[in-house]
């Protein structure tokens, strides 16, 4: 079924959408030796060499494989949640061909040997490209800098303390300064720790009525404002990790308008759900940052449409039942998302809210460019990481059909459109529907 890597492949009769070249056209794509050999638009691809395996896409959407900047597995340390292998299977089924794992594992990815471990484990056991993010501080404790330079050499793609904001502004300043000298992107969670302490929801009418401990949206803005000031001071590149509130987006817009090297992600969960979805304390809707009100969600969608938000992540965070079958405030935050990211994002195309090519850009070329990857685009010489997706095909999300080891999906039972038919990594089929 899977073509040998040395046999060239011709995908004919596809609707090719490549945000990097702003291409949206009928055409054919040729793959040789794991890289893209040519993209030919028009109904006639010309004569296809006899050595090619040909695949008639029948008009199906062909896009670059997704690049997901924020994924947690449980490896190393919490393999009951998820392994690199199970996460990779979920990724392949979801059209994600590259993902970046967060460093808050056990042990923490805060030195070169752990970076190396992840890279080797991923290469040996994984279907898709798995890249490690390194910790910004030792143990993700926010106190002393981790070996950013050595981790960069070992192949970490950005640095971050994952869910934990770096409270000490002096430490954050030094991390930014130091990372800049290695050309490293720093990702940081904007959350004021004191306002967010113990919060399970966003302050407002809903959380108040439900009696849930909550943080105001301004907790996000306050920390982002500090980070922007430090970016201005140091000139380092910063990725604001999951901007989810209207008030923080105002700060982000001002920072970008001033020309600061600041970028922002948001999660598919915050684009899709609002606090009302918590309903009767559904812990699958507990995220970090917490799910917001509808006004914030609308602001985030608008920011994605205008490009103020650069990147959409799955924020894949597997949690087994024992971590979720708890009262809301005690449950572990996070949701699996690798397999639902693409169809959930396509909802904004089907609603007519955001053009298809812009949605695809936020999960392909933009995250790839942030990390300096050659993937995420359909260009000659780029890795043949590809997804064939039946854009209009309906699906009902069934947790039992998720390939993740954990099934904590807030999309449970949700009706979406856009079924991944086939996923290629370096020209090899890693998933077929």
């Amino acid at each position: 079924m899977s073509p040998a890597p040395d046999r060239p492949l011709a995908i004919l009769n596809a609707r090719i959408v490549d945000p990097a070249s702003r291409l949206d056209a009928r055409g054919a794509l040729f793959v040789r030796d794991g890289v893209i050999e040519a993209v030919v638009t028009g109904s006639d691809p010309g004569a296809v060499g006899a050595d090619y395996e040909t695949l008639d896409a029948g008009g199906t959407l062909l896009i670059p494989g997704l690049v997901d900047l924020r994924v947690k597995t449980g490896e190393p340390g919490f393999e009951t949640r998820e392994t690199l292998r199970s996460a990779a299977e979920a990724a392949a089924a979801g059209g994600v061909t590259t993902f970046v794992v967060q460093p808050d594992t056990d042990p923490v990815i805060d030195e070169a040997s752990v970076v190396d471990f992840i890279r080797r484990r991923a290469r040996d056991s994984s279907l898709v490209n798995v890249l490690p993010a390194g910790a910004a501080t030792q143990g993700c404790l926010g106190e002393r800098m981790a070996e950013i330079g050595l981790m960069a050499e070992a192949g970490c793609v950005y640095i971050t303390d994952a869910d934990r904001p770096i409270l000490n502004s002096k430490v954050m300043r030094r991390v930014l300064d130091y990372a800049r000298s290695f050309g490293m992107l720093v990702a940081h969670r904007p959350a004021d720790p004191w306002l967010s302490e113990g919060a399970a929801a966003t302050s407002g009418e809903f959380a108040g009525r439900m009696g849930l401990p909550s943080a105001p949206p301004e907790a996000e803005k306050i920390m982002l404002e500090r980070d922007l000031a430090l970016v201005e001071m140091t000139g380092a590149r910063l990725l604001a990790d999951q901007v989810t509130t209207a008030c923080a987006l105002e700060s982000l817009e001002r920072g970008k308008r001033r020309g600061l090297p600041v970028f922002a992600s948001t999660s598919i969960n915050h684009l899709t759900f609002n606090e009302i979805d918590i309903g009767d304390y559904r812990t699958f809707l507990k995220f970090d940052p917490p799910v917001r009100g509808e006004d914030d969600r609308q602001a985030v969608i608008e920011a994605l449409a205008t490009g103020l938000i650069d990147v959409v992540v799955s924020a894949h965070a597997p949690a087994p039942p024992e971590d979720k079958r708890l009262p809301y405030a005690e449950a572990t935050p996070g949701a699996v998302g690798l397999q639902t990211l693409l169809p959930a994002l396509l909802a904004f195309h089907h609603e007519g809210r955001i053009p298809l090519i812009d949605l695809i850009a936020a999960v392909t070329v933009r995250p790839a460019d942030l990390l300096g990857l050659k993937s995420g685009r359909l260009a000659r010489g780029a890795p043949a990481d590809l997804v064939l997706c039946d854009l209009d095909a309906p699906l009902v999300v069934d947790p039992d059909r998720l390939r993740s080891r954990s099934r904590n999906t807030p999309f449970d039972g949700r009706r979406l459109q856009g079924v991944v038919r086939r996923t290629f990594v370096a020209g090899r089929t890693v998933f077929e529907d």
Binding site: G204, E205, G208, R209, M210, G211, L212, P213, E322, Y328
Partner: protein
């Protein structure tokens, strides 16, 4: 059977079966349910004042009090209510011991459920805990307080106390005062009183009023005198002392000065005002003993008595449904 018991069975037959398996939130109820439960409770008040207080409505049934948080008052109220209706009861307080053993809330509940109780009365420190349990067990679940969310039987007994004092609830002007933020009593009372047509006000320092509480359909006041002006009922809430060390209020004495209810401040309310408190009281902090102990204005002792009757009504209603299930 004597007269009042016949009255009960008549009410029971007229109003029920109760349409729900669980009793989790006042928002699950409608005004007809509430009126029916209050009518039923009135009958139990009479019963409880007789020498022979025992009925067999719950004969053969088992009730488990599962209290993850300490509460002598609510637990004994439920226990007495169940026993007077003829049920067998046991009390469990699986606090630190089971948590230390790693047993979760669900594990504990599923274990107890396997012993086939008919009714599980749950108190837990986390909002939503009772609802979570109700999804995992086959018996009826009564919420006896979940975190900062709801305490529906308290709201029912408060409504009963008010209806007996005034003869009606619709149109009453009720000020709920103090630590609204952490209070499940406040949330249940707001829901139930609004449903029954009362006008509800919330009064307290801004640090103890939930964000956007003005969207609950209530008026919010930070000044106690303004808040209780013209009110028929002033309901004071307990303020935990550790919240007055500068966290939510600077000190107990400052709190009492501005938000403690004394005779002088009470003068702003209606002449016929009744004062309520869910207990236990911090005398001299949120309420002055002079007011609390004045039986011409205080309904606080009545509330305790109504607690047993209101809980008997809830148990009888759920049991009647069990019969027809």
């Amino acid at each position: 059977m004597n007269g009042s018991v016949q009255g009960l069975s008549e009410v029971l037959g007229r109003t029920f079966p109760f349409p729900r398996r669980h009793f989790l939130s006042v928002l699950d109820l409608n005004p007809v349910d509430v009126a029916g439960l209050l009518d039923l409770a009135e009958g139990f008040v009479e019963l409880n004042r007789q020498t022979s207080k025992k009925l067999d409505l719950l004969k053969g049934r088992t009730l488990i009090n599962l209290f993850f948080e300490n509460s002598t008052r609510t637990q004994s109220s439920f226990e007495l209510a169940a026993k007077r209706l003829g049920a067998d009861t046991i009390n469990m307080s699986p606090r630190s011991s089971s948590i230390a053993k790693g047993e979760t809330l669900i594990d504990t509940a599923v274990t107890l459920n396997a012993m086939r109780p008919d009714i599980l009365v749950v108190r837990h420190g986390a909002s939503g805990a009772a609802s979570l349990l109700a999804q995992k067990v086959s018996c009826s679940v009564i919420n006896a307080g979940d975190g900062q969310h709801e305490h529906p039987t308290q709201a029912l007994l408060d409504a009963l106390s008010m209806r007996r004092a005034f003869g009606y609830i619709a149109g009453l002007r009720v000020a709920i005062c103090g630590d609204i933020l952490h209070s499940r009593v406040a949330r249940s009372n707001v829901g139930l009183l609004q449903m029954m047509g009362a006008e509800v006000r919330l009064v307290g320092p801004p640090t103890l009023i939930p964000a956007k509480a003005d969207r609950w359909g209530v008026q919010v006041f930070n000044d106690l005198r303004q808040g209780i002006a013209g009110c028929d009922v002033v309901m004071m809430l307990r303020l935990q002392l550790e919240r007055m060390d500068g966290a939510f209020a600077p000190s107990p004495r400052e709190y009492f000065r501005f938000w403690g209810l004394d005779r002088e401040k009470l003068g702003a309310a209606a002449d016929h005002v009744k004062v309520m408190h869910p207990g236990p009281m911090n005398r001299g902090v949120e309420i002055d003993s002079d007011v609390a102990d004045d039986l011409t204005v205080s309904l606080i002792q009545d509330q305790v008595e109504m607690g047993v009757a209101a809980r008997m009504a809830v148990l009888a209603a759920l049991a009647a449904r069990l019969e027809t299930a």
